[in-house]
Every structure is written in C-alpha cells, then in structure tokens.
Amino acid sequence: MNHVLHRMSLAELARHLAAREVSAVDLARHFLGRIERHRGLNAFLDIRPEVTLAQAQAADARRARGEAGALLGIPVAHKDIFVTRDFASTAASRMLEGYMSPFDATVVDRLAKVGMVTLGKVNCDEFAMGSSNENSAYGPVLNPWDTSAVPGGSSGGSSAAVAARIAPVATATDTGGSIREPAAFCGITGTKPTYGRPSRWGMIAFASSLDTAGLMTVSAEDAAWVLSAMCGFDPNDSTSVDRPDEDFTRDLARPIAGLRIGVPKEFFAAGLQPDVERAVRGALETYRSMGATLVDISLPNAELGIPVYYVVAPAECSSNLSRFDGVRYGHRAKDYGDLADMIKRSRAEGFGPEPKRRILIGTYVLSHGYYDAYYIKAQQVRRLIADEFQQAFTQCDVIAGPVTTSVAFGFGEKAADPVSMYMSDLYTIPGSLAGVPSVSIPCGFGEGANASRPVGLQLMSNYFDEARLLGIAHQYQLATDWHRRVPAAFAG
C-alpha cells in the first residue's frame, strides 16, 4: 500500500490509520523518503527525521491508548514563517540562520495537539515577501509541474511540497496572496481564512494587519479537516477573534443549487491572459451547470489594491523587522564600530534585497510629512475596498474570479522588475485588504507553451463563512479532477 499513501486524501489516510492498516510512523517514513528523493525541489529548509519519527511514535502511542481523531498521525510541513521549538525557524532569511525558538507558534501547537506529525520546515520568500520564492536566502523552490517555472510565493515551499505529494498538508501564510498565488501556480488547494480566525502568535510578522495563517492541501475537503483544528481563539493574539471553534467540514455536502456567484468585472479586465480566462470561465460554467447563478458585480476600487497594499504592508514591515538588530539573537556583523554601527551592519548583511526594499518604502511612507499623504490615505482606501466587498455580498454569496493574471512565470522573468512582480497579486490583494476568507482551487492548465502550468480559480466569501466557502470548493472538486492531478515526475 505504501506506494499510494501519498495519493490518498486525508480522509483515506485517517481510515487506514484508524483501521491500523498503516501507522503514523509508516506515514512519516514514507513522506520523509519522498522528501529525501525530491530534495532537488528545494522545498524543505529543515528536516530532522529523528524529531519527526518521535512525534509519529507518540501519535501511534496515543492511538494505542484509545485516542481517535481524524488528524492523529497525519504528517504536516510548516512554512518557515511559523516558529517551532524542534526545527530551526529562519523566515528563509540569513538574519535568522539556525535560529531556534523557545516556543511553538499557536498554529503549530494546535496541530500537534490533535496529533499531526511535523515533517519539517518548508521554504518561502524571505520574511514572506515575494510572489515567486526567488527571494529565499536559501535558494528558490522549483515548481513540480515545470521546473523552469516558479512555484509562486511567498508560500512556494508549501505549495510545491503538496503539489509534489512530499507532504500531504502544509501550513502557509497569506499577506497579499502568498497562499492563493502559489496554490494556483502549483495546481493545489490554498486556503486563507478570515483575518483574526487563526492565531498569529508565533508567526514571524511581515504586515500584522494582513498576515493570515492558512493551508496548502490537495483538496478543499482536506483543508476543512485541518482548518477546523488549526483555527480558534488565542488570548496571546489581541487580534484573534473570540469565537468558538468551528467544524469547517459541516457544509461540504451542501449542494450548489441556488448559489449566487458574483463575478467582478474588474477581475476580467486588460492584463488577464486568455488561457487563464478560458480556464476560469470554464469553472464558472461548471458551477452554472450545477445550479449556481452568475451575477455580474463590481469592485470599483479593487484596482487600487496594489498601491494601497504597497503602502500599508511595507509600513508595517519596516517596523516589524526593526527587532532584527543583531543585539539579542540572529545575525550580528563580525566587524563594527559603535552600537549604532553594529545594528546597521548586522541589518545590511542579514537582510536580502526585497526586505530592504520594503523597509525603505515603509520607512518613507511613515516619515514625518508623508504619513498623511500615504499611510492615512491608504488606510482610507482600504476601508473603501472592504466596504465594497460588503456591498458585493448583498448581491451574491461568493465572489469568483482568477487568482492570477497568468500561469506560473519562469525564473528570472520578473525578478528584475519589482513592479511587474507586485502585479502578480492584483486579484488576491483586495481580499487581503478586506480580510475576507478566500480559497484558490485548480481549474485547468495554460495553453501552448504553458500547457503544463496550472490555473487557479479564486473563491471569496464573507467574513467567517469558511465552512460554506470550502463546501462550494468541494462541490466543484466532486465534479472535476483537476485537484487530483499529480505532475508525472512525482506521481509514483
């Protein structure tokens, strides 16, 4: 059975575990073996098989004591933005090379509590800043579908690991699209819940008002299982929403008939590549054939999302990254003069170009005399965009559109042009600014030279409506098999 373990859904794995046909240790060994075999993807930054196997043994022991639970013994990989006690936590930065956290992130802790087994830490853009994973200090991750293409970012390690089936589930984070864009580029399911639903405690902060923990999974159903365990009120995070834990699988079986899908015209305007548009429109047709109604809607200020985001996110990042000064932990320059010089040199050496660029932008927009014109104005427009979503949700139950303008691009294609790179998040940023939950599900492939590169469909719902959102995604996945496809090199 081992050769198919990585092709199973979480529900199937859970059944096999429950029937004692496979142990958590078997699963851990199987996926550790696949990680080893596919090191070339550069998806993992830290693996410690002895730690993973010890956790798997503990999960088996829990089951032997009579514990059940759908996730007990299921392996998971964590994005290197979550701090972990047992694995290094670097945010893919030289600044934190080898850094060991004395505590686990709440997300990591909650998944460990239900018995999930950590496979290791996965690569990402440095401090989660990027859309291609080219900004990792430890080298880019390859896209399993086409190794000349980027896996997307910043959660590129998470998306590549799941697409290559070297991890059945990976945690990820989304600030402006960092879950949805790499999920789309890698042909898997990416879930960004409502801001405030999962705890940020233990997430290395990029932009605090936007950073949201989420998941990379094969399917929406898998996501619903893991998300239920991952989310919940955390008194350690003041922005955590105090609501009871939820079972996000509850709406999986709910039919599509009667569903109103809002289609924002701004998401189908100039810039959208024809092959992506065809795949997305095809998915919308599928929904219509299942009984949904398509409603034309408008998010008129959505196009301001990128300028707003590139004020707000760098502003917060410029402050959040100030703690990395070489004084208490992290990289410290070898040669320096006085204390100020030590801080300057340590930061100059420790940060890569993209964090530096965003620190500079953020410092600028917050500085005296510019604050009102940039930061305050951006917050006002952000409010407008959030209001537009509320307006839209009076007309529809869910909003659908493309995740990205194009399929995954090639390495180096946009690296020299930050603005074109920033445009990768055109369709994902509005939902981030509003804080609404959103998923990206595979709905086809590109055309011509891009025929091996997946296309993603984005679905967004109103706040706290994750169960319904995942149900809508799941119904599509019952009707299609895009999410079941595995790149040939990683199928066996």
Binding site: W201, G202, A205, S319, R323, R328, I343, H368
Partner: protein, 498 residues
C-alpha cells in the same frame, strides 16, 4: 558656560511645563506576564515578549488601564472611550522591538487638572492649579549598562515592558521670579507624587525611577510669545528639580542677554556640578514614524468600567482636606499638610479617633510638628514611624488630661521613638514625668525660688516683665520640668503681688 554676573534676572518670566513618567504598580508588565519587581538579576524578568523574539505579540494588561482610569478620574479628566496604541520607532540596543508601544494621537486620559500649594522663600504659601494636557499609557525600555564590561555594553531587559503613565501638563507655570517658578514646578511634582501614591497606582520611588519628571523650561519677557524651550531630564529628586530649573532659566536668560539664542534641545541635569548639559538637539531629533500598532486593537473603555473604578476610588486628597478642615476645625494649612499623603491622613484619623472630643488640633499640631520632624530627620515615612498612631494617641491623652506638660510630652515621645517603654503611660511612670499640679508642692517651690532670687524679684517690681519669665524658668527647673506651667504662673503672680 560663562555666567553673566551683571544680570539680576528681573524682567523675565519663566515658563514651565512638566512631563512625568509614573511607573504603574501592576505585578506584571503592560504587554507580557513577566514580573515588574525591581532589582532582580539582569534579564531574569524578561519574557519572550519583552525580548521581542520572532513571532511574539503584545497583550494589554488591563490592570495598567485601570490605574490610568483611576488617575484620570482623580484629576477630573476625560477618560477616552476609545484610545489607540501607536508604535514609536527608533533603534536603540535596549529597545528590543525597535519601537516603543505608546499612545500618540488619542491618549486614554485627556485634560484634567491638579491643585497644589506653593511654598518657598520670600512669599506666603498659595494655592496653584496646573492643567493637564493628557496622560497616556506606554511601555518602558530596558537599560544599557556601559560600565563593568570592558569595551562592551550590557543590556538588561528586566525593565523593558514595565507600564508607565506619562502625565503631561500645559505650560501653566508662568512666573516672573526664577526661584518661585521652580517652587511652583516642585509643588506640582510633589502634589502629583502624593496623588499617584495616594491612589496606589505608583510606588513613587524616585531613586528606583518609578517617578521621573522632565521639565520643559523657557524664558520670555512678560507678555511676549513663548520662548524656545529646553527639556531637562534626570531630575530624580525634588531638590534637583528645583536646582535644575533655576540653573536652566538663568542659562537661557544669560544666553539671550549675550545676544545669543536658545536652541531647542534635550538637556541632562548633572547634580554633582549643578548644571544642565546638552543631550541632543532638535536637529538630530529622530523621526519616530508613529503609526497605530496593528497588533493591538483600539483600547475601548465603557462607562460601566469607568463607574466601577470610580466607585473604588479612595477619598481624594482635596476632598479629605476640606473634610479635615471643617470636621476637625483645622486650618487649611494644617489640613493640607495632613492630607499630603494617604499614610499621614490615615495616621491622623486613627489618632483623633482614640482621643477625647475636641483634641483634633492637638493631634494635628503634633503630627505636623514633632512627628513630621522626627520622621524627616530619620529620612523615614509615617508608615514606618516607630511611634504608631495608638502610641501617639496614648501620649496625647496624657497631654490633654494634664498628666504631663508639653515639655515632658516631648521627652516621652523621644523615649517611645527610641523604643523605651511600650506606652506613654509606662514611660511617664518609669521616668517620673507626671506633672506637679499639687498646689502645696508648687507654693513651696515658688517660695524657695523667690527667696533665692531677690534680684529678680526687685527687677520685676521695678516693672521688668522679663524678670518674671526668669522666675518661671527657675520654678520649672526646680520642678525638673514637671510643674504645671499655668499653675506656676498663677502662684507666682499671686506671691509677687502679695
């Protein structure tokens, strides 16, 4: 700098505004669960939050907010229903996050005022009210230790995250006399110190830095616009505060007199040299890039919370002063001294309760006189006074009923202070200080004194009243201080007249 000895500093007005950092008396820090206790080994009271490790987040300590509300209610301020925590960004090795969480545009306490009594040389004490601009919550930074580490600096983050209430006044101290301006500033600072300790929101320990005042000082010709101000730091006692303000005002006047101008800057007071020194000028002032902290929701305080805090407020000094004056028939001055701090006021009320009716003035005189002097001489406090309220009351009962006279009472007090005897009565007995009120015994002493001092008797009869006092002194001496002075007076007059 050279002091212009010609200048007499008249014709100038000194303008002062004050900023005070009061460390709030919470057991844990403002955004973490670490202890705030003073004096622990370096870095043993710094949690992962205080160390600003990757992934940590702040959670507001509601006890700190509660103390801010207490303060706001006590000074008649508006408690903002919604206030905002902001980040003040700057790099310093003892600032772990690279920013300080503070309140900037919308502070929790807005407005209010504080009354104080100004005392000093050359003028009668008078009441003064200083308006407050605001008070806001913020966290303290750690400490850099530049000594003891050759060529290196040590960082102690125990203090990082300690809750502070920064209390800012309007520039309401505007006085034409330098010394008096400094006296007003000190009077305000003392009143504030007594209020925050009275409210129990701050321990007021200036040596440990629990109560730190900075003074914004400027000078101008009366009627002119405000001059350029300098912020004076490191005023860690009221005496230094007075000295620093006087020095700084003179320095500024000297500068202007010399045709120079005052540069806006932060200056550090050096008590050893009694001078202020430039720390940093406005030119190299940092741009703190304040913005609302996205890790913290706006602080919302509803009316119910405010009312709960209001209900728990102790009687405030001003109300207590008024009550003391009217209920006990005390002067405003005496009532003011007795209500300078909560411990003294409580001590007074305990003593009065143990005395027969009508003796409050006696208690006030003793507490503001001998007790205060002894406490000050010992650099102690009323709370640790060895003569507790019960013992003092035991002593004053004997003064009131005539068992001992004032002179003996002072002796008994000193004995109680040094631990001799458990009660006043025990000391009176063991030292034999009971007042002689037996007329027969006193007449005998008086007659002996008159016989021994014919010269004084002669002088008195010649109209010299002074001679009478000498005779009283002799009688008191012969009685070893125990004679009832009023009785001695009466008997002596009687005998001299006879």
């Amino acid at each position: 700098m050279a002091r212009n000895s010609q200048s007499d500093y008249t014709g100038w007005q000194v303008v002062i505004g004050l900023e005070t950092h009061a460390q709030l008396s919470t057991a844990s820090k403002i955004f973490s669960g670490a202890s705030t206790a003073f004096g622990a080994e370096p870095n043993t009271q710094a949690s992962v939050v205080d160390l600003a490790l990757p992934g940590v987040l702040p959670v507001l300590n509601r006890g700190a907010v509660e103390r801010a509300i207490r303060f706001g209610l006590a000074v008649g301020a508006t408690i903002a229903p919604r206030s905002v925590f902001a980040r003040k960004n700057y790099f310093y090795p003892d600032l772990p996050k690279g920013y300080q969480i503070s309140q900037y545009e919308i502070p929790v306490v807005q407005g209010g005022s504080l009354a104080c009594i100004v005392e000093g040389k050359g003028f009668e004490p008078y009441a003064k009210t200083v308006r407050l601009t605001r008070a806001h919550l913020e966290e303290d930074a750690g400490k850099s230790l530049h000594e003891d580490y050759s060529g290196m600096s040590g960082i102690d983050l125990n203090r990082a995250g300690t809750p502070l209430l920064e209390i800012v006044t309007e520039p309401d101290i505007q006085v034409d006399d330098i010394e008096q301006a400094a006296s007003e500033a000190v009077a305000y600072a003392r009143a504030l110190h007594s209020l925050v300790t009275w409210l129990g929101i701050c321990d007021g320990n200036m040596q440990e830095g629990s109560f730190r005042c900075d003074a914004n000082v400027s000078v101008r010709r009366p009627g002119a616009g405000l001059g350029t101000r300098c912020e004076i730091k490191n005023l860690n006692s009221f005496r230094f505060m007075h000295q620093a303000i006087v020095y700084e005002a003179k320095r500024q006047i000297d500068l202007i007199d010399a045709g120079d101008r005052v540069v806006q800057e932060t200056r550090l007071y050096d008590p050893d040299r009694d001078e202020t020194r430039s720390m940093r000028s406005k030119e190299d002032a940092m741009d703190y890039r304040y913005f609302p902290d996205p890790d913290l929701l706006p602080l919302e305080i509803d009316a119910a919370w405010i009312e709960r805090v209001r209900a728990e407020l102790p009687e405030l000094p001003a109300a207590k002063r008024t009550r003391f004056a009217s209920a006990y028939g005390l002067s405003d001055y005496d009532a003011g001294l007795l209500t300078a701090d909560a411990a003294t006021a409580g001590y007074f009320e305990q003593v009065v309760a143990a005395l027969p009716p009508g003796q409050a003035k006696l208690a006030a005189n003793w507490i503001n006189g001998d007790v205060a002097a002894a406490v000050n001489a010992a650099a102690g406090s009323i709370a640790t006074c060895p003569v507790d309220a019960a013992r003092l009351a035991g002593l004053l009962v004997r003064v009131a009923d005539g068992t001992i006279n004032q002179k003996a009472a002072k002796e008994v007090f000193a004995a109680l202070w040094s631990g001799e005897g458990a009660t006043a009565d025990a000391v009176i007995e063991s030292r034999g200080l009971r007042q002689i009120s037996d007329a027969g015994a006193l007449v005998a002493i008086v007659q002996a004194v008159l016989a021994a001092n014919p010269k004084s008797v002669e002088e008195f009869r010649a109209g010299k009243e002074k001679a009478f006092n000498a005779l009283v002194g002799q009688v008191m001496k012969q009685s070893r201080g125990k004679a009832n002075p009023q009785q001695v007076n009466d008997i002596l007059r009687d005998k001299l007249a006879g």
